[in-house]
Point group: C2
Chain length 428, copies 2
């Protein structure tokens, strides 16, 4: 590596422009810590004139990022566009082939093409770093790859989506509806204009796939996983959870059960007193179980340009210090493939909410179907809504098999006395 | 580096023998992750025949560790004796001079001689790694040096001594006295036979000195710091704290105030609901405030052979991967010297407990002296002990200056109606 390294930054949204400012401000510190100089020689975005919080140097601006690779000698490239394919994939792939180190915050790209890109990086002997793709400012990937490197990790649980966690916390605190809180979140910049992938669990699932791969030294799974977001959570559920001494949290979970991989994302009811219940707002948290280290907990801000830049800069300095490493800690061809655990075999306590017509016999219809599918009831709460001749029935079950409960709910769904799709939340 | 590296392990107590077993068990994993083979070629302890949980290979045993350096070619040496000077310092110094990488869990050595040894390691271009010296299984040093590398950290607060935290938690939970709980801790292996340095704050202060140095890119301070342990905490204080909605925790704190360094270790009263109040038993936790990352929290098991070995192995793999780095993240001659903040200028709310004769006028004597030193009272609780004609007076003050409060207590100490040294615990 030369003493001065040429940097390109692709994507100048909130994160890209914040990062540019950091790179500029911390040149001297970087030199002290790595004995290397950096020079940002090219930047790229769709729109040169967009309003940005930090000034950009228009002299080094490119509308087409691929042109940079043809015209300039780049040593390290930041990909901050964030698409799972398209120009994001193209620029990363071409950069690696030109022996340029790549740093990205793009979980969608890594979860989808991480295997291909990491093997390409290994072949070309460059770094592909993606600390910022999971849990923002929490250096969780580095912690797994280095700090806990020889531990046998068997389970990772995380609050990994700031938008969802903010909405759930805020509903809890203000008693406002999902819709109202989402609007507020969008106003405050905690939710995107199109928050689909944050709310439907997709964002968390990408992160979980990356975390599994690092934790269990395995290839990224392409299998279908249980993925449910928070879109169906109503204020009613939040209040009911509260009265049961619980909170609702969107969790990403990955673990090894019987040597099989069980990755899932769904809302969970967690004990109000537990650590995870008290991670509020846009915070992220990750709980790892490993041997011999025991339980490790990491908590920090999960999103936003500050924490994300903190992670991007850690990747940069790792490269500048010459720490060339396998992107996933273990070489592409030494990572295992682990078969998926069969979700249908899983058993869990469930929270079920039924909105029903308030007339005799409805409860017995429900409990009969539950019994048929061997779902036994731990607690039952019926809340009447006399004005509308309706009632909410909330049931906490003992451990119930996933296949049985899904069959059971499918049957109950078509019951005319049950007025809408039953709500199911798993207990943690 | 050769492809097979020769390892020496000096010190075969609980940690050393656990580590040997790990090194043996994980040879293959290490090779997969680093493309290097390791071979333990020498071990040393005072007593070859001591009962150990794991078998040691007596063929490679040396009574005198310094002899190893003369007779064998060593690439990486683990120092696990734990003295701040003596043979610990000798073996580390001589190893570095012979261009042997050193890994140690020895906070006392690093806090005392870290500057000398790190400059020596830089000169000889070898690693001096000490992840295991602070917070056991929590990879906090690596997180500061790498994961949060370009953040401007301004404050670090930690529960860093498992023994003290266990004793305080256990007193809280069981209502047993300090003495009884200490005995139990010793039985369970949570306290050493001579627990002095754990209980008087020395152990935490060493760790805080290492954390400050890394967090603020400064040389290890040789200045005297506020250091108080938990030896004077009575069950009375624990109960009183509880009734005030608080818990007592031994905290290590380091921060920059007005560009000066303020390192301290002392018991603190913390809000019962706060995160730090709920770190119980032998757990450790570290809270960092940095910019731009915000608040980061790391929690995990702070001691014991498992977590400590996890940290030692992370150091080993870092060396095997060829990550040669400055021991303190920044080169010896580029780290600053920061002057100490004058403790006498500091103000804090205080919890004061006086054991007094139960007779008229005593309270007024106390409050008069407090007033003279401008210490104003927020809450006052008097608990009579009629049988013994005594009373406990507990006072929570508004912010009081350290110099004033120490003068004030010195004066009250000699009051004949005050039966023993007043107890002072700072509020957090």
């Amino acid at each position: 590596m030369n003493k001065t390294l040429n940097i390109a930054v692709i994507g100048l949204g909130n994160i890209g422009s914040y990062l540019l400012n950091e790179l500029n401000k911390k040149k001297k510190e970087i030199e002290i810590k790595t004995s290397k100089k950096i020079n940002v020689v090219a930047i790229s975005a769709r729109n040169i004139n967009k309003k940005r919080k930090f000034k950009i140097n228009k002299k080094i601006f490119y509308k087409n990022p691929l042109k940079i690779l043809k015209e300039k000698k780049i040593d390290i490239l930041f990909e901050l566009i964030g698409l799972s394919d398209g120009v994001s994939k193209k620029i990363v792939e071409q950069s690696i082939k030109k022996k340029i180190h790549v740093i990205t915050a793009n979980k969608a790209l890594i979860a989808k093409h991480g295997e291909f890109l990491s093997s390409l990086a290994e072949k070309n002997k460059v770094n592909l770093e993606f600390e910022a793709s999971v849990a923002g400012g929490i250096p969780i990937l580095r912690t797994i790859k280095e700090g806990l490197v020889t531990n046998k990790i068997n389970k990772v649980v995380g609050i990994l989506n700031g938008t969802s966690n903010y909405i759930l916390s805020e509903m809890q605190e203000t008693n406002n509806s999902f819709k109202d809180v989402l609007k507020k979140a969008q106003k405050l910049g905690f939710a995107e204009t199109n928050p689909k992938f944050d709310l439907n669990g997709q964002d968390v699932l990408s992160k979980i796939k990356i975390l599994s791969s690092l934790s269990f030294n395995k290839k990224i799974s392409k299998n279908k996983s249980l993925m449910k977001g928070i879109e169906d959570i109503e204020l009613k559920d939040i209040k009911m959870a509260n009265s049961l001494g619980m909170r609702i949290k969107l969790l990403g979970i990955t673990e090894i059960i019987d040597n099989k991989l069980f990755e899932r994302v769904h809302p969970c009811l967690v004990n109000k007193e537990s650590y995870i219940a008290n991670i509020n707002g846009v915070m992220n948290a990750v709980i790892l179980n490993g041997s011999p280290v025991g339980e490790s907990v990491l908590q920090g801000e999960g999103a936003g340009p500050g924490p994300t830049s903190s992670a991007l800069m850690s990747d940069l300095l790792s490269i500048l210090r010459g720490n060339i490493k396998y992107p996933f800690g273990v070489s592409y061809n030494k990572r295992k493939i682990i078969k998926n655990y069969d979700l249908n075999k899983y058993s869990n306590s469930l929270y079920l909410r039924f909105e029903v017509r308030d007339k005799p016999g409805v409860l017995s219809q429900i409990t009969k179907v539950l019994a048929r599918f061997k779902i036994s009831i731990d607690r039952l709460i019926q809340i009447p809504d006399h004005k509308n001749k309706r009632a909410s029935i909330v049931i906490i079950t003992h451990k119930a098999n996933e296949l049985n409960s899904s069959k059971c709910l499918n049957l109950l769904k078509i019951n005319k006395n049950i007025l809408k799709n039953p709500t199911l939340i798993r207990l943690f």
